[in-house]
Symmetry: C2
Subunit: 225 residues, 2 copies
DNA sequence: TTTTATAAAATCATCGATTATATGTCTTGC
DNA sequence: GCAAGACATATAATCGATGATTTTATAAAA
């Protein structure tokens, strides 16, 4: 499993492209605000225009790419205001989602949370190799997704996923070589613990703080406009 | 102005298609859950496959169309659970948005609210002709959009627009020939009044109730699964 | 009768080429 | 010297056709 989203094996060329392009954008390889010249990407990925257009269209709906009629595509620019809104919405929506999940989740769900937490613990975030970095990103994402997976609100989960993508891009680009000033693994453990103890208020608060703290750390290093 | 979304005049064929297809879906002309055979639509709208695919892709990001790899497109099905979630999210998100808008909005914003409210008042909802119906829909939509336009959170506004689209589809299909059991215009006046008086709590409550009430009315006539 | 295998039809995904639009450059007139 | 317009180039938008996949229909076997 290289990507949370590519569940079905029926990998159409467009879908593969979405995954590859998203990864490139998240890594900052395709720089924020940069123009996406169709012909150039087409050449470098060895595909034709049709699947490329479709892929970019899907990335637009994830907020990673912008389309302007007759003027092509570009990577969504970054800004303090945008980051602030993304974090604010994550705080509200993931808060709502985890509250609902605690209400509806069963024992199997608790088990999956512990499983993903364990997997996350096996990954070293600060490790040098890109492969291990990527493994941590995937595990981290799986953990956060699991926390709200029992909320029974598919639309809300999709909103959360979109917002998480957007905030992850900021973190990966701007916090690339910043040592974390806090014990992130401990925060994860605390959140999981509160959820499994069914302490809805505490879990929600911890998750909201967890997200907000990341937001503040990025804002601190984000260059002025 | 036939559509709130087609601000820029640079109408690419895909964009035009998005508008036309969305209208058809909202009217229930393209029935929920119905398969969208590309070749058939292509023929009836007189376009080629490329812009059609792109249009459907954009409608997918609005939640009105579903895409399954290798298996084509279909109009998003309706269900009690989906409607419940849409309404729940509208209540929460529009609530948050209007609160923020009240905090940031200025006198010009108040003016625009009164203007759209006035325009809405000139439209008869129960009128027979489809043209007048459509005029009411547009005015109603413009009014609701204005209420939150000052919130300074573009992503949130986009989420609200998407959700509003989805709930409007339910209302237009299932409440087509149901006389409203309540004084909807009065509710609009009350909401606008509370906002302009800067009564944040009251305005939020009124708006939330307004949305929730519509949701309940639709649920009441929604056929069992 | 039900299930499985096969063949035919329908439909989607992709491509290469064409057309339309925008952008940058170079005149031309003031 | 500068602004406005015309041309050339780059790029996006669209098309028609081809290849790949899924679905439906049909027939044989359990």
């Amino acid at each position: 499993m290289t990507d949370l989203r590519s569940q079905d094996s029926a990998a159409t060329l467009s879908s593969t492209l979405v995954t590859r392009l998203r990864a490139a954008i998240m890594r900052g390889e395709l720089v924020p605000g940069g123009k996406l010249v169709l012909d150039r990407i087409r050449a470098s990925y060895g595909v034709s225009l049709s699947p490329l257009r479709e892929a970019l269209c899907r990335l637009e709906s994830e907020g990673l790419v912008e389309i302007v009629d007759q003027r092509g595509y570009r990577v969504t620019p970054v800004s303090r205001a945008n980051l602030a809104e993304v974090i604010r919405l994550r705080v509200e929506l993931e808060g709502m989602a985890v509250r609902e999940a605690i209400r509806h989740g069963d024992a199997a769900w608790e088990g999956r949370i512990l499983a993903t937490l364990h997997q996350l613990g096996r990954c070293k975030r600060g490790s040098r190799s890109l492969e291990e970095q990527e493994a941590w990103e995937i595990a981290h994402r799986a953990f956060h997704a699991e926390l709200i997976s029992a909320c029974r609100m598919p639309l809300l989960m999709q909103f959360c996923e979109t917002l998480h993508d957007q905030s992850d891009r900021y973190r990966r680009i701007f916090l690339k070589d910043h040592e974390p000033d806090r014990d992130v693994p401990a925060e994860h453990v605390a959140i999981a613990g509160a959820i499994i103890d069914r302490k809805a208020e505490e879990a929600t608060r911890l998750l909201r703080d967890h997200v907000a703290r990341t937001g503040r750390n990025i804002q601190a290093v984000l260059p002025a406009e």
